[in-house]
């Protein structure tokens, strides 16, 4: 095994290979053109005001940003936050993924599904529930007062004032499953023979992990790490819940929500995007190097040891502790859905199932759930196809323009949702050639495009990581033995990267189901609302039972997503967690 600083594919000069490279370059050009049309065009339309001053093209606004101390300190703060969140998420995810892959214990399947729950917190009601839990006069302080740690709830701290550390901790608890999924997929792709050889040669557990397992996991960790990093860099939800506003993304969000948007804001969007892509490219250079693998992942079969009662208890404690903390807001959503009165008490003081029943029988609920499934299902399918092609171009070819394609495909992670949605409104306005797919008509196409573009990085990174871990020799052998390229992909490549594709697909589908910005702006009429917009409409209706009805919708959303994840596992043969075992 050798770690290569550059590309792991040998330089080729034969005419056939040159032709293959040209073909691959042509596909890269097509992909870049596609992204230019669906991502860059609306983006440029939305931020173009940041590039003009006094009616002329200008970098005036960039100058204003670069000389503004407050904005610069917010940028630095954002990068520090993203680094901290990613580090905490790694510390949570990697040990759990290692336990998951190296031992077997009772209840492992249940935990494998439960650990994904933090990802499926419904918007608006999830934030409300988190606020209630951590509020100065909220549930946590009331519990502390009840057990005698505080003299009364009002004497407790305002946990929502947790600042930088609080934001990093909550972000990590929310996002660590992304890294867990990627780490699990990466571990599933590692041939146990390497670790066995290291142990046989006298290396201890830690040294084996550090020198063998960790480098082999690197593509998967890089894939998850970049997503968590850029997510944390551009996240607004958690900082807004905690009122921590010294961050570029929060400043942008607040500026964009105002009626009068200063052109400087659009320049700041550009600066943030450039910064995110630069950090990604730097990260790829430093952490994203590929490893040369000379054998398949399944040269030896190793039966993981089964834990005894004590070991199982420890494993449950490790998983249960993290999951328990991370799903407290979900429990809050369920309790809100069944509360008739919940003021100044630890639990609702009056319970009712009316909200759950009301939401269940409303035809609007069925419509919005079906819409969400359609939008998320179709966009995930588009992402899997486009994302896999891009990943293949990035990993398996030496086509020109790959770095540009790679960076452009990662860009959507950093683009503020409001900006992209505004761009889609502009390019589909009445009279434009894209009017027919605009939100004034049936917004299905534009929503699927919006969802697909925003979640594309999940598939690109996930599939790239899978491909990087599979030796190209296996595909070459298949082709040498006469198999066609499609047959090779279907019978060799796809089965070998199934875990990575599945992990990325689960993430893509979940986040598409929970998409907010595009849904709020582009799904305008009730018959086209996805569930997130319906939750928003209910939560902000101003009605007496607004929070509970919105939470009831959130409960059905969580059940639906949790069910989808379990179904994904069942569809592919065994329980979800087991998929990540080779």
């Amino acid at each position: 095994m050798t770690v290569l600083p550059k590309d792991r594919l040998p330089l080729t000069t034969s005419p056939g290979e040159r032709a293959a490279r040209r073909r691959a370059t042509a596909v890269v050009v097509v992909m870049i053109a596609l992204l230019a049309l669906l991502l860059l065009m609306p983006l440029i339309r939305a931020v173009s005001r940041g590039f003009t001053h006094d009616g002329k093209a200008s970098v005036y606004w960039f100058g204003r940003i670069l000389t503004n101390q407050i904005l610069l300190s917010e940028m630095l703060n954002s990068v520090l936050l993203a680094c901290t969140t990613t580090a905490i998420a790694l510390l949570l995810a990697v040990p759990l993924a290692m336990i998951r892959s190296s031992v077997r214990f009772r209840g492992q399947g249940v935990l494998s599904v439960l650990i994904l729950l933090p990802l499926i917190l419904p918007p608006f009601v999830g934030a409300m529930s988190m606020s209630r839990l951590l509020a100065h006069y909220g549930v946590l302080n009331q519990i502390l007062a009840r057990v005698g740690i505080l003299s009364n709830a009002a004497a407790g701290p305002d946990w929502l004032g947790g600042g930088f550390a609080g934001v990093a901790a909550l972000q990590a608890l929310h996002l660590f499953p992304i890294l867990y999924l990627n780490a699990s997929a990466a571990l599933a792709n590692i041939d146990p023979a390497y670790a066995q050889a290291a142990r046989n040669l006298g290396a201890g557990r830690w040294r084996t992990f550090r020198s063998v397992t960790l480098p082999l996991m690197r593509p998967g960790l890089f894939a998850g790490g970049t997503i968590v990093f850029i997510w944390a860099l551009t996240d607004i939800g958690t900082p807004l819940i905690l009122g921590y506003e010294r961050l570029t993304a929060v400043t942008l969000f607040k500026e964009l929500a105002r009626a009068e948007i200063n052109p400087r804001t659009y320049s700041l969007v550009f600066v943030m995007l450039t910064g995110a892509v630069t950090l990604y490219v730097l990260g790829k250079f430093v952490f994203g190097r590929s490893v040369r693998l000379d054998s398949s992942k399944a040269t030896v079969a190793v039966e993981a040891p089964r834990l005894g009662v004590v070991g199982t208890a420890w494993a449950w404690l490790a998983f249960g502790g993290v999951i328990g903390l991370a799903i407290l807001p979900h429990i809050g959503v369920v309790l809100t859905a069944i509360s008739a009165r919940w003021v100044n008490t630890i639990l609702p003081s009056q319970i009712t199932f009316d909200h759950l029943r009301f939401v269940l029988v409303r035809p609007e609920t069925r419509v919005c759930i079906m819409n969400s499934l359609r939008y998320a299902g179709a966009s995930t399918a588009v992402d899997v196809v486009i994302g896999s092609i891009i990943a293949w171009l990035l990993v398996r070819t030496r086509a020109r323009g790959r770095t540009l394609l790679d960076s452009t495909a990662m860009l959507p992670l950093a683009v503020p949702g409001l900006i992209l949605a505004a761009g889609y409104v502009a390019i589909t306005a009445r009279g434009s050639w894209l009017e027919s797919i605009g939100p004034m008509n049936n917004p299905f196409v534009i929503l699927v495009i919006a969802y697909s573009v925003r979640r594309l990085p999940f598939i690109v990174r996930g599939v790239s990581a899978g491909l990087e871990q599979i030796p190209i020799a296996l595909e070459e052998a298949s082709r040498n033995l006469g198999a066609s390229r499609p047959a090779t992909v279907l019978r060799i490549t796809l089965p070998l990267i199934a875990a990575s594709v599945l992990a990325a697909t689960v993430l893509t589908f979940s986040f598409a189901m929970l998409e907010v910005s595009d849904s709020l702006i582009l799904a305008q009429t009730e018959s086209h609302y996805p569930i997130t917009k319906e939750i928003y409409r209910q939560a902000t209706s101003g009605n007496r039972d607004a929070a509970s009805v919105a939470a009831a919708l959130g409960v059905y959303g969580m059940v639906l997503l949790g069910g989808s994840m379990a179904l994904a596992g069942a569809l592919l043969g065994r329980r979800l967690g087991a998929i990540f075992r080779a």
Partner: protein, 477 residues
């Protein structure tokens, strides 16, 4: 089953799932709003038969497109009532397609700007309804609204100004359709535990004991909050004293929320015991636990703001849009806002609990109104403001509050904490000191003019933000 077969099986399942997802995705979306058993229908059907010679169900249906942040209770009640009114009067029923772009006035304005950005002469939408008077003034200024016909009866019943706030556009580009008061909501047991007296006026919110306990709204995002802040300033004898009073409230903030609706949740969730909010939000939240949550409309200190309606430039159904406006502003349409279920001209499914903007409606329908509907025109409910000063200061005050408090929250709180601890008059004077360019009303007029230019606005607000940050840090040191 060996591993290879299993792998192949997985691949086929993955592909099958993709195909199914695409197939279901392209199947289209469906759904329609449900109409309840409307007791008015049978009576209307008879009238329609007499006048138009056929039943309601046989009448042709027109379509009206509206963009609105209003909730479904309001949109449903108005759609049903207007359709029946239109059937009787014009022999056609009406379906209204309600568009919601995920937010209040700011979101609608941003959306319309994007839609009209390429020089389009129509947005494809007829009516814009709801979102605050300030947003409608902007829309009018940006040329996206068309003048409406307002009958003398409507003009007589709706004042052009009320409490210093514009209720309808003099050029008839928009007109208020309802009014909202702005007060505060508090959590009684929490205030008792903190030893804080229950507030009844804006002055009470400046008390030291209120430090960190109030959830406020950002005036650059909430027109109601902006109106309330102006009123606090005007309740003092002069501008510097008024600013000091307002800063007393602002520096007691726990946080600034993006909308008055979002702030209203704080006392029930326990995040802050006091929150400023719009009256009907406050009343609805308080209804969950009336013994614990109390909404107060400070007597004589309440800012009332209109909820306007307008017709959009290039409305595809111009005539129908005008008829809808006529209906909403008619006495009957106004009564729908405030009446209880079952009352003549009242709602069918849900009481809307909003305050009509027409003065005469409060007399015409006095008996059937929901108990929490307050007549804003009743003596003592409004506060008389200096309209000229307000007009000049409106934009300036919002940006000043943003720079001094919203964007400098942490530093402002740190400084206020020191003031409470030290009670140092010199520090207090420094805390209340205004930037040089806005310390007189004359300066404010000049700044208001300059703020209209984006380059100047960015410079001015950035300078203010630095000014306040440095000042607060100096006090806290």
């Amino acid at each position: 089953m060996n591993s290879m077969q299993r792998n192949r099986g997985r691949s086929i399942l993955v592909l099958a799932a993709l195909v199914i997802a695409l197939a279901t995705g392209s199947a289209g979306c469906a759904g329609s709003a449900q109409t309840p058993d409307d007791p008015r229908r049978s009576g209307v059907d008879e009238q329609v038969r007499r006048k138009w010679g056929k039943g309601l169900a046989d009448l042709p249906t027109l379509k009206l497109l509206a963009i609105s942040p209003h909730n479904k209770n309001i949109t449903d009640e108005y759609e049903w009532a207007f359709s029946l009114y239109h059937a009787v009067t014009f022999g056609q029923t009406v379906d209204i397609e309600w568009h919601d772009v995920g937010g209040g006035g700011s979101a609608i304005l941003s959306y319309l700007r994007n839609v009209y950005a390429g020089g389009q002469d129509s947005s494809g939408i007829d009516i814009v309804w709801g979102g605050g008077e300030h947003m409608f003034q902007r829309m009018a200024g940006e040329g996206v609204l068309e003048p409406m016909d307002l009958s003398p009866e409507v003009l007589a019943a709706i004042p052009e100004m009320f409490g210093g706030v514009t209720m309808r556009d003099p050029g008839r580009l928009w007109c208020g359709s309802a009014v909202s008061g702005f007060g505060f909501l508090y959590n009684r047991p929490v205030l008792a535990a903190l030893g804080v007296a229950e507030p009844t006026s804006w002055d009470d919110l400046t008390a030291d004991k209120m430090f960190g306990q109030i959830c406020l709204a950002d005036p650059t995002q909430s027109g109601s909050a902006a109106a309330a802040y102006e009123m606090i300033v005007q309740s003092a004898p002069d501008w510097p004293t008024g600013w000091a009073k307002l800063l007393g409230v602002l520096s007691n903030a726990w946080r600034f929320e993006g909308s008055a609706g979002a702030a209203a949740k704080a006392p029930a969730l326990g995040t802050a015991p006091v929150a400023t909010c719009i009256d009907f939000y406050g009343a609805n939240v308080a209804a969950e636990a009336p013994d614990m949550l109390v909404y107060v409309s400070p007597k004589g200190q309440t800012a009332f703001t209109p909820d306007p309606i307008g017709i959009l430039k290039g409305a595809p159904n111009r005539q129908l849009a005008q008829r809808f406006v006529d209906f909403v502003l008619s006495a009957k349409g106004q009564a729908l806002l405030a009446l209880k279920i079952g009352e003549r001209d009242g709602p069918v499914r849900t009481p809307l609990g909003r305050q009509p903007i027409r003065r005469d409606v409060y007399g015409l329908y006095a008996e059937g109104m929901s108990p929490w509907v307050v007549n804003p025109y009743e003596a003592g409910n409004e506060m008389t403001l200096d309209i000229d000063v307000r007009r000049i200061r409106y934009a300036v005050l919002k940006q000043l509050v943003r720079a001094a408090a919203v964007d400098n929250l942490a530093d402002m709180k740190a400084a206020r904490r020191v003031l409470i601890r030290t009670a140092d008059p010199a520090r207090l004077a420094e805390f209340n000191r205004l930037p040089d360019d806005v310390d007189t009303v004359a300066d404010i007029a000049e700044i208001a003019r300059r703020l209209k230019d984006p380059t100047e606005a960015e410079r001015i607000v950035s300078t203010w933000r630095r000014f306040f940050r440095d000042k607060y840090r100096g006090i806290a040191e």
